[in-house]
């Protein structure tokens, strides 16, 4: 649920990066934090385990500047991807306005991507949201590993597995090199802002 402050003319919008464990959600935010430091006024908050796995969420407030006289603040979150953390994953989804699904493009991760997406579908239902309606962008991450000879799923297969019914915008990406990380972000921001405008204004 986005929030609009009419007095100070600030719009807050919540975008969540969702996906299987170790898929690269936190790495997406870390890259954004490094590359767009001018648009980020506070520290990135990371609630993580000693082994650098997300325990609860990462949080990064991203300033988009003014749009139609309103200051737009995009609140970026990640969920913990590990299977055992679904209770906390659900808490982070509370009030979500837009989603990036970060899939791990490695062949070995095929099943995990599908299971994670199915669980997202279920989790959204609990908030009376629909995966078919909420702004969503697919990201097929870690494609840089192809150059190291690690088996990577062809994008056509990922599309078939994850996006054949949803038909949302998608990007091959590498959160390590930053390839298509800003493009993913721009896409989800524009989809989300349009949907929030429709809902609230």
């Amino acid at each position: 649920m986005s929030f609009i402050n009419l007095r100070e003319k600030i719009v807050q919008v919540k975008v969540v990066y969702y996906g299987p464990g170790r898929g690269g959600k936190t790495s997406n935010l870390e890259y954004i934090n490094r590359k767009f430091s001018k648009q980020i006024q506070s520290e990135m908050v990371s609630l993580k385990t000693h082994g650098d796995r997300t325990l609860f969420f990462d949080f990064l407030p991203f300033d988009m500047g003014k749009i139609k006289g309103y200051e737009l603040k995009i609140q970026l979150y990640t969920v913990p991807g590990q299977v055992k953390y679904n209770a906390t994953r659900k808490l982070v989804l509370k009030g979500v306005d837009g989603l990036v699904f970060v899939a791990d493009a490695q062949e070995a991760m095929r099943e995990k991507n599908i299971r994670s997406l199915n669980q997202l579908h279920e989790n959204l239902k609990e908030y009376k949201e629909s995966i078919f309606k909420i702004p969503l962008v697919m990201q097929y991450n870690k494609v840089d590993l192809r150059d190291q000879g690690i088996p990577i799923l062809p994008t056509a297969v990922l599309e078939q597995d994850l996006n054949s019914k949803l038909k949302v915008p998608y990007f091959e990406a590498s959160a390590l090199t930053g390839y298509n990380v800003p493009e993913t972000l721009k896409k989800i921001i524009s989809l989300t802002v349009v949907s929030v405008q429709k809902k609230l204004l």
Partner: protein, 132 residues
């Protein structure tokens, strides 16, 4: 109630309540957030500067976690959420299903006195929201 948009008039009245009931008695900072971690309004005494956006995200997470734990042990909710430090204390209270009032205050205010004023502020805010 569509809490997604709050009118200027409502916000000004809420700010007035917060100033009158809480800032006046020496509270450092009061924030109203929603359960998704958005800030509805923030007021401080002019000297303390917190990163309110990060704070709101963490506070919403904290509240949601404690709430989920309460349900697990069969409680409706834990009505008092309070963190005590040496120089700063944090007090949480629920305005309604969607909104939280968070108060940060120093050692010169007792918890009892604070709670009394929080309750008054809550009553006034709920009334304001109820009539809209």
């Amino acid at each position: 109630m569509n809490y997604g948009v709050v009118s200027q008039e409502q916000l000004e009245k809420i700010d007035e309540i917060l100033s009158e009931q809480l800032i006046k008695i020496g509270v450092d900072c009061v924030i109203i957030i929603d359960m998704a971690g958005n800030i509805i309004t923030a007021k401080d005494n002019g000297t303390s500067k917190y990163d309110v956006y990060s704070f709101a995200a963490l506070a919403a997470g904290n509240f949601a976690t404690v709430d989920a734990m309460a349900k697990l042990v069969g409680e409706q909710e834990f009505s008092l959420l309070f963190h005590k430090g040496t120089d700063c204390n944090i007090h949480f209270s629920k305005i309604d299903e969607e909104l939280l009032l968070i108060t940060m205050f120093g050692k010169h205010i007792s918890l009892g006195f604070l709670r009394l004023n929080v309750v008054k502020a809550l009553e006034q805010i709920r009334k304001l929201w109820g009539v809209k």
